[in-house]
Amino acid sequence: MTVTDERSTAAGPEVGRSRLRKEDQRLITGRTRWTDNIVLPGMLHAAMVRSPFAHANIRSIETEVAEQAPGVITVVTGADVKDTQGAVATAWPITTDQKTPDHLPIAIERVACAGEIVAVVVARTAAEARDAAELVDVDYEELPAILDGREAAEDAVLAHPSLGTNTSAVWRLDSAESGTGGNVEEEIAKARTDGIVIEREYRQQRLIPSFMEPRSTVVDPTGEQVTVWTSTQVPHLLRFLIAATTGMSESKIRVIAPDVGGGFGGKLQTTAEEFATLAAARRVGKPVKYTETRSESLVSGHHGRDQYQRLTLAASKDGTVTALKVDLIANLGAYVGLVGGGTPVLGAWMFNGIYKFKAYQFNLRTVLTNTTWVDAYRGAGRPEATFAIERIMDELAAELGADPLEIRERNWITHEEFPFASVAGMTYDSGNYEAATARAKELFDYDGLRREQQERRDRKDPVQLGIGVSTFTEMCGLAPSRVLGSLNYGAGGWEHASIRMLPTGKVEVITGTSPHGQGHETAWSQIAADRLGVPFEDIEVLHGDTQIAPRGLDTYGSRSLVVGGEAVVRAADKVVEKAKLVAAHLLEANAEDLDFSGGRFTVKGTDQGIGITEVAAAQFTSHNLAEGMESGIDADATFDPVTFSFPHGTHLCAMEVDTETGGTRMRRYVAVDDIGQVVNPLIVQGQVHGGLVQGIAQALWEEAVFDEQGTLVTGSFVDYTLPTAADTISFLTDNTTSPSTTNTLGTKGVGEAGCIASTPAVVNAIVDALRPLGIDDVRMPCTPERVWTAIQSAGASAGGEVSGGAQPHFDEDAPNQDGPEPGAAEAGQKGADQ
C-alpha cells in the first residue's frame, strides 16, 4: 500500500481522511521527551535491589557496604520510608469481601514474587547505582511458593499465608438471577437429553505486554509541587493515588506523562517503581531518575491473561445455541493490580459473543500466587472471552459437521435486531455481522481455500491447510460512570476536553486522555478542525500533564476516541456557541440569523460574515464586546457515556500446518472490522495491524514461563519470543460501517479489536487443519512441538506443558547474581547436559 498524505487544501472534511500522524517524526526519531531523555540539574539515579525468590521472608538487609561504594548517596529500604512510601493500590475490588494483600512499593518483611523491590540505591550515576545494588546483602528465608492458578485454588500452599486462602474473590453473573435470560442449568439439562452439550477446557497462557519503551520515572521534589515524569498510561490516576496513599496533598503533586512509548495496558498501572522512586527522591531531596532494564521490565511489569477456562455450551440438535456456562480461574499473581480482578470480570459480558443464548452464567474465581502480578493487557478480559466462545463455536460446528460460518450465522444477532439486549445484560448499539462476513469471505476467497484444503486432505499432503473463523464483538469506551459505580470501581469513566482559541488564530485542544503511541494528536486535530473550521495544522493537542490537562481519566479500554473524542466534539460545539454571540455583536445581527460553516459565521441571506479566528482575536482585545458580555470563547466539556459501544468484525485465517515438523505458516489473513465511523483510516489500519500481530503472537509465539522456583524463564527477548515484521504476512483489511449510536461522530473503539479477534482465528485454523486426525485442540502458544505432539498422539494430548527451561546462549557463570539455587540459566544448561 502506498501512503499519501492528502493535503488539507483538498476539499471535504478532515474526519475520514488518511492523515499522516503529526506526532510521528518526533516519536520515531526519538528526539522528544521520553522520560529517560529528561535530565535535571543535580539529578541522581536509582537502581532497584530485587528479590530473586518467589516467596521469602526478609530476615535482614545489609546496606553498609553499598553505601560506601563510589558515588552512592544512600540506600533506601522499605523500613526507612514505611510511613511515606504509600502503596500500590487496586481501583476495583470486585466484591466487598475481596482479599487484597497489602502491596508495598518497597517490601519490608516478606516478598511474594521474584522481582519485588527490597531496596533502592541512589547514586550519582546509573552505573554506580547498578554496581552498588549488587553490594546490598539481603538475608532471605525462603518460603514455599505457589505458581499455578488452578493449584492455587486448592489452597495447599498459600501465596500470602496471613490471608488464609489464595482465593481473592468469587464473582458471578447469572442471566436468571439478573433477569436477562433463562436458567443455565435447566437449559444444559435439556440439551443433555435431546440436544448437544459441548464441554471444553481452554488455557489462556500468561503473556507479557512488552511495550517498546521500558518504564522510566523521574521525580523532582525540589519545587513547591513534587513533579513526577513517568512513562504511564494513567497520569491522572497516578496523581490521585499518590495523594491517596502517601498522605501528600494532591495539590502538591504534578504528574506528567511525556511521550510514552507504548503500553498495551502494561502501563495502565501505578507501579512499585514509581512509588519507590518518589520515596527515594523525597528522602534525598533531589531529583532522581529510575529507568528499568528490559529484564526488569519483563519480570516486574504486570503480565496479562493467565486463565483456566471451563466452558459448557448447550445447543439444540440443529445447532441453535441455548446456554453457555463459564467457569474461570484467573491467576492475579502476587498482588491485585489497579484493575486487577476487574480484568477477568470485563470478560463477563463478552463470553456470549454475538450469539443469541437463552441462558448464561459466568463464574469467576480470582486467585493469588507467587508470580508477577497480572492485570490489563490489550483487550483485558475480552480477548480471553472471545477466544473461548469462538473456539467452542467451531467445536459445535465440528460436532454437527457444519461449516463454522453457517453455525455462526444460525446463531448471531441479525442486523435488524439492533439495538440488542444481550443475555449478559448489555445493549449492543449497532452492527451488521452479515455484511462484515460477506466482505471477509470475498476478500479471503473462502470457497477457493476450502477447495484447496480438500485437495490437500485427499492427496495426504504433509502440509495441511486449515481455515479459522472469528466473528467477534467487543465492548469499548470505558465507561459509563454509573455502570462503574454499580461494579464497585473506584473512579468514574467520563472524559474531559478543553479548547483554547488563541488570538493568533491557533487552537489548543486539551484532552484528558493520555496517548502513548495511538495518534490522538492527529485524530483530535481532525475532529476539532471539522467542528471549528480551522486548518488541521493550526491545532495543537495537549495532554498527559496534570497541570495542563487537570481533568482526565486517561487512555485504556478503547476509550479515548469514543469518550475523549466526544468530549472534544462537545467542547468545540460550545466554543462555536460562545463565538456566535460575539460574532452576532460584531456583525450587528441576531445570533439566530447566523449560520456557521467552514469556520465562518455568516448572516443568512447576505454576504456578510466573520471567521471564527477573527472572533478569537476580537475577544482577546475585547475592545468591542456586547454590553455585559464576559470575554472569552474557550470552552470545556466533560462527557460521560451512557453505554458502551460494540465494534465487531469477521476475521478469517488460513494456516498451513507441516505435519512432519509441527511447524505452522500463515497463508492468508483477512480482517473486516466494523468500528463505526472512521476518523483516520490510516491510523485505524495501524491499530488493526498491530493488534492482529499481538493476537497472532498469543496464538503462536508468546508465553511467560516460570520454573519450579518461580523464576521467570522467559526473562529476556531471547526466550520470550516476540515476533517481528519478518514473522508476519501482509494482512487484508477492510471496514464495514455501522455508526455507533452512543456518540455524535458514530465512532467505536479500534485499539484492541485486532488483538481480541485474531487469536481464536489462528488457533481455529490450526485445529481445522488437524481435525481429520481427531485433534480438537492445541494449547497456546501452538508451538511446533505442541502441534507435533498433538499429531503424534492423534488428539489424545493437546500438547501439554513445555519442557525444561531456557537455553543459555551466553556461557559465563553468574558471578554477580545471588539467584535461587538452580537459576533459570543453569536449569537450561542442565537440560543441555543430559
Binding site: 516476540l722 507435533w788 531456557a806 546462549h809 559465563e812 543441555a832 543430559q834
Partner: protein, 284 residues
C-alpha cells in the same frame, strides 16, 4: 543493562594483541563483533577487567584463496562472507548457513571467528565448518598451531582456544561444485536454531557421490552425521532413497530439552530436516 566498568585496549597488530592478553591474564576478554560478548557484559554474567578489541587488526579480516583451501580471517564478518563470491563458489554451505544468522545489523558486526570461539551449540556456523572439514589456526604466545574441526569444539561454549590464545583464521577445503543447503528450524525469524542441519553434496550422474552433513544444536557441540553421510553415497537423489538414508540422522546425538522443544522432538526434527537439507542440496 550497564556492564561493570572495564579497561579497553584496541591493538592494531596480532603481536600487540597477544602481548596485551599475556599481560592481563585471565582478567582479559577478547571482543570481536561483540554480538555475544556485549549481552554477556550488559547482563553482568561476566565482568572482565580488560576488554581487548580485535577490530583494528587488519590481518585478521578477509577471505583469501589458497588453491585447495579458502582462508577466512577470524574477524571476517558474516556480511563479508555473504558478499564473497569465493565462498559462494567453493564453500556454499557456509553462505547458506550465514544467511540465516539473526538479522542484517548483527550480520554486519558478528564475526566468523567470534561465533566459532563462542561455540554456542545453537550457533549456525559451527556445524557447517565441521561438515566442511575446516581447520582452525590458533595463535598464542608460543606461536601458531592448527586444529582439525573435530578437535576444535570441546563442549558447551568450550573450544580448543586456550587462555591467552586467539583464533586467527580458518582454512576451509574447497568444495567446488557441491550443492549446499542449510535447513534451520525456528519459531520466530530472529531466533537461534532449535535444530538446524547443514548438508553439502556432490551429485554425479543423478546420484550422490559425496555428502557432508552437520547438525546444529543436537548436542553440546556441533555434530557431524557421519552415518548419514556414508549411507547417502551412491544413492539417487530421490525423496525415497534420501529419506531412508537420513532416518539415522539423530543417532549418537544428545540434544537439549528446553522451552523450544524436548530432546525427543529435536531428534525427530533432525531426521526430517536432514532429509530436506540433503534433497535441497542435491537440487532435488
Amino acid at each position: 543493562m550497564i556492564p561493570v566498568q572495564f579497561d579497553y585496549a584496541a591493538p592494531t597488530t596480532l603481536q600487540e594483541a597477544l602481548g596485551v592478553l599475556a599481560e592481563a591474564g585471565e582478567d582479559a576478554k577478547v571482543i570481536a563483533g561483540g554480538q555475544s560478548l556485549l549481552p554477556i557484559l550488559r547482563m553482568r554474567l561476566n565482568a572482565p577487567e580488560k576488554v581487548v578489541d580485535l577490530g583494528r587488526i587488519e590481518e585478521l579480516r578477509g577471505i583469501t584463496d589458497e588453491g585447495s583451501h579458502l582462508v577466512i580471517g577470524a574477524m571476517t564478518t558474516y556480511a563479508d562472507v555473504l558478499a564473497s563470491s569465493a565462498v559462494r563458489d567453493h564453500a556454499a554451505l557456509l553462505v547458506e548457513a550465514v544467511k540465516t544468522v539473526a538479522d542484517p545489523q548483527i550480520r554486519h558486526r558478528g564475526t566468523v571467528g567470534g561465533a566459532l570461539v563462542h561455540a554456542d551449540p545453537a550457533g549456525d556456523v559451527g556445524a557447517p565448518a565441521l561438515a566442511l572439514g575446516a581447520e582452525f589456526v590458533i595463535t598464542g604466545p608460543g606461536g601458531e598451531r592448527t586444529v582439525p574441526a573435530d578437535e576444535f569444539f570441546r563442549d558447551l561454549f568450550e573450544t580448543a582456544v586456550g587462555e591467552g590464545e586467539l583464533l586467527t583464521r580458518i582454512r576451509v577445503p574447497k568444495h567446488t561444485g557441491w550443492g549446499a543447503h542449510y535447513e534451520k528450524f525456528v519459531r520466530v525469524a530472529h531466533q537461534w536454531s532449535i535444530v538446524a542441519v547443514g548438508a553439502t553434496v556432490r551429485v554425479d550422474g543423478g546420484s550422490i557421490a559425496e555428502a557432508r552433513v552437520g547438525l546444529t544444536n543436537m548436542g553440546s557441540t556441533p555434530l557431524r552425521a557421519t552415518a548419514v553421510e556414508q549411507a547417502l553415497v551412491g544413492r539417487p537423489a530421490t525423496e525415497e532413497a534420501v529419506r531412508e538414508a537420513c532416518a539415522a540422522a539423530a543417532e549418537g546425538t544428545d540434544p537439549p530439552s528446553d522451552l523450544n522443544g524436548s530432546a525427543d522432538y529435536r531428534r525427530h526434527l533432525a531426521t526430517v530436516l536432514t532429509r530436506r537439507a540433503v534433497l535441497a542440496a542435491a537440487g532435488a
